[in-house]
Symmetry: none
Subunit: 415 residues, 2 copies
C-alpha cells in the first residue's frame, strides 16, 4: 500500500514555513504499514492541484492532501476537489452546529457567512469533524483510491489524522509491518564506517535496507524492513544489528529514536548519583540548554556559567588573568581551569568546559578559528582535549557541544 | 523563471527528518526572483529519480536536486544523473586533491577507495567544490534546463547553494524582483479578519496576492508581488499595506522580522554601546546560546549563568536563601534579584533573567507549571514580568526565551 502526501500552500513554496506536517504524516503512515512514495508541495491554485492529483493517483492508492481549507479567498482546495470528483457542495447541519458551538466557546464574535460557508461540504465525501477548528476533514473515493483532505494548520491536521484518518485506514486494509532501527555512532565519517562494515553490509538479506545518515560529528545507520509477520520482521533486523554492533563497538552510542545523547548521559549520571556543572565559552550555553530541555535535569545538573569574555573567566570563575594571557583563552590550561573551577563553584562531581574560537573573526584570540578545547574535571582528575572543527560558526558550536557530550559519556561509562 | 526542488532520500519519506533544506532553498531562490513551482521528495532509487526528473524538467527551467551524493551504497544520485544525461564519470584531480586535504586536516584516517570514488564525477557537468564535505555540487545542462545536484547534509547544501548556485543563476539570468511582506496579527481568527478587510482585499491590484496564514492565537497576512522594477514592486505593496494597517490597527503587532529577534536586539545594543549579561534557570542557557550563535556577540554579551538549582541561585548569584524560600524560586523577587546580580557580577549595562517552572513535575516549586518570571535590570531600574506558557516543556522554554527577547527589545528600543 503506497501513499502520496500533497501539501497545498504558497507559504511552503516561498520558504516561509518549514513543512513539518509531512514528516508527521509519513511517520504515522509508516507506523501502520503504509509506505510514502512521494511528498509533493504545490501552489494554491486550481490547475496545480488538479494536475498533481490526477498524476499521483496513478502511483498511490492513498493520497493525503493538506492545506487550503480555510474560510478565505486564497483557500481553493475544497472547491477544486469538488470539481475534480464531480461533487457538489451541500449544507451539513451537524457541521454548522459544530462551528456555531466552537464560536460560542472560544470566540467573542458571532459566526459570519465565511464561517457558515465552511459547513457547505461535498455531498458524496465522508466528513470528519475538526475539534480544533472550523475546517472539516474529507474523504473522497475514486476507483481504488482514497483521497483525504485535511487542514494545513499543524495541530488541526494532527488531530484529524490520528483520530480519523489512521483508524479509517486500519479498518479498511490489512497492512504489513514496517520496522526501522537506527543506530547512533559518533566520531567516524560514513566512508570509514562503510568500509569497516562492508562485508556485513554486502551480506545483508534482500529485504533489509541499510541507510547512512550523516550529521555533524555523527552518522546514523538505519536498517529498514517490512513484512506481514511483525515478529519475523523485527527478529530479522535485530539479528543483523547483533552482528553489526561488535563491528562498531567503539563508536556506537545507542539506538534512535530512543534518546538524544544528552539524555543518555543524564541517565548515566543519575544511575551513578553524580552531579554535573558546565562552563561554556564559545558554545554560549548550548550544552547546558541541551540538558535542561529534558525533564528531570534538576536531579544531576547543578548549573553552569557562560564566560564569554576573558574578564568573566577571571571575575566569575576566578581564573588567573596572567595565566589566561600567557596561555590564551583557547588553551588546555583555560579549559582545565574552567572545568575545575565550575565544578568547585557549583559543588558538583563532574565539571565540563568548552572554550574555542567560533569565528568568523580571529579577534584577540591566539588560536585559529575552529580550534576548541574541552576540559573534563572528574572527582579525581582533570584533563583536556583539543579539536579542529572547521570554519563555520554554527558547525563549530554544534560539533563542540556534541563532542563534549561524547567525551562525558565515555568518561562516566567507564565508571 | 520557475524552479522545482527535488529531495532524494528515504529519511524524508519515513518522517525520520524534517525537510528544512527545501524552505532554505525556496527562500534563497525567491530572494533572487525565481519562483518555486513544486517541492518534491522521493525515494533513493533510480526509477523514482529518473521519472521525477523527466517530468519536472517540462515545468521548470531550474531543478535543484538534493541528497544521495554520499560515498555509501545507498547513494545513487550521481550515477543516476550520469546515466540520465548520457555522461560518464571521470577523475577530477583537483577534487581528489581537495578530498585528500580535507582528510589530512580533519580526519585521522587516510582516505579510502570510497572517498576516492567521490572524485569521479560526470565529465560534462560543471563541478563545485564542497568546502565542508567530500560530495561535490554538480550542474548539468539540457536544452533550456539547468539541473543542480547538491548534497543533502544541510550545512553542505547551504554553503554550495549560497556560494555557487545563487551566483551562477544571478550571472546567467536577468531576474525579476519578488517581494513578500507579512503582517503579524494577534487575537482574531482569519474569517473575522477577512470579513473586516473584505472591501480592501477585493480592490487589491491583480499583481498583488494576499494569503492568510493562521497559527496558534495569531494570523499572518502576507502580501506578495513581483516585477522587473524593484522600487515599483515594493511601492505598490507598501501602498496597500498603508491602507490595510488602519483596518487592523487593534490586532496588528508588527511585520514579520527579516532577522531573528536576537540579532535585532544585538544590533540595538551595539548601537547604544551597551552590554548584556543573562541569568537563566528554566531555559537552561538557551537565551545565552541564541546570542552567541551570531558572530560579533563579544562586543555586547558579557556572559551568563545557568542557576538551575536553588543552591546555585544562592552560591553563584548570592541571592538570600531566606528570601528564595520565602518567595519561592519562581517569583518576582527571585527574577529581579537574578537580573540585578548577574548585571553586577558581569559588570554589564543590562541584566536579564528567566526563572520558571517548565514541568512536567511541580517538584519543590511553589508555582504551577508554565509560570515564568522574566526580570530586566537596566542601568537605572529593575522590573519583572509574569507569564503562563502552558504545559509543554519545550514550548515553555522556547516561549520564555522569545518573550525575554521581546521584552529586552522593547526596553532598549525606548532608549
Amino acid at each position: 500500500m503506497k501513499a502520496t502526501i500533497l501539501n497545498i500552500g504558497d507559504e511552503i513554496l516561498i520558504g516561509q514555513i518549514i513543512n513539518t506536517n509531512s514528516a508527521f504524516i509519513s511517520k504515522a503512515l509508516n507506523n501502520i504499514g503504509i509506505e510514502v512514495n512521494e511528498i509533493l508541495s504545490i501552489s494554491d491554485n486550481k490547475k496545480s492541484i488538479i494536475n498533481s492529483i490526477s498524476r499521483v493517483e496513478k502511483n498511490s492508492e492513498i493520497i493525503i492532501i493538506t492545506g487550503g481549507l480555510g474560510p478565505t479567498k486564497d483557500d481553493l482546495t475544497k472547491i477544486t476537489l469538488c470539481e475534480y470528483f464531480n461533487d457538489e457542495l451541500v449544507l451539513y447541519p451537524d457541521v454548522l452546529n459544530h462551528i456555531e458551538e466552537m464560536f460560542k466557546k472560544y470566540v467573542s464574535t458571532p459566526i459570519n457567512e465565511k464561517n457558515r460557508k465552511q459547513a457547505f461540504l461535498p455531498k458524496k465525501a465522508k466528513i470528519y469533524l475538526n475539534n480544533y477548528g472550523t475546517a472539516s476533514g474529507m474523504l473522497f473515493k475514486k476507483n481504488k483510491n482514497l483521497f483525504f483532505s485535511l487542514p494545513g494548520v499543524p495541530h488541526e491536521m494532527k488531530m484529524l489524522l490520528n483520530d480519523s484518518v489512521i483508524p479509517e485506514l486500519k479498518s479498511k486494509f490489512s497492512l504489513p509491518y514496517i520496522y526501522h532501527k537506527t543506530l547512533l555512532t559518533y566520531g567516524l565519517g560514513e566512508s570509514v564506517i562503510s568500509k569497516r562494515i562492508e562485508s556485513w553490509e554486502n551480506n545483508l538479506p534482500e529485504n533489509i535496507k541499510l541507510a547512512y545518515l550523516p550529521g555533524l560529528g555523527r552518522v546514523r545507520l538505519r536498517l529498514s524492513s517490512k513484512g506481514v509477520d511483525k515478529k519475523k520482521v523485527i527478529d530479522s533486523v535485530d539479528k543483523q544489528v547483533k552482528k553489526l554492533i561488535p563491528l562498531i563497538d567503539d563508536i556506537y552510542f545507542g539506538d534512535e529514536p530512543s534518546e538524544p545523547l544528552e539524555k543518555i548521559v543524564a541517565l548515566n549520571l543519575k544511575k551513578l548519583k553524580k552531579t554535573l556543572s558546565i562552563a561554556e565559552s564559545c558554545t554560549g550555553g548550548r550544552l547546558s540548554s541541551r540538558f535542561v530541555e529534558h525533564p528531570g535535569a534538576s536531579s544531576f545538573f547543578m548549573g553552569g556559567v557562560v564566560v564569554y569574555s576573558n574578564s568573566s573567566k577571571h571575575n566569575i570563575l576566578g581564573l588567573s588573568k596572567k595565566l589566561i594571557n600567557k596561555n590564551g583563552s583557547v588553551s588546555s590550561y583555560v579549559s582545565e581551569a574552567m572545568a575545575l573551577s565550575v565544578k568547585k563553584k557549583f559543588n558538583s562531581d563532574f565539571g565540563i568546559s568548552i572554550t574555542g574560537n567560533a569565528g568568523p573573526d580571529i579577534g584577540d584570540l591566539t588560536k585559529k578559528i575552529g580550534s576548541v578545547f574541552i576540559g573534563i574535571a572528574t572527582p579525581s582528575i582533570v584533563k583536556s582535549f583539543n579539536y579542529q572543527f572547521g570554519k563555520n560558526r554554527e558547525q563549530i558550536i554544534e560539533k563542540s557541544t556534541n563532542k563534549a557530550l561524547e567525551l562525558l559519556y565515555k568518561e562516566i561509562k567507564s565508571k
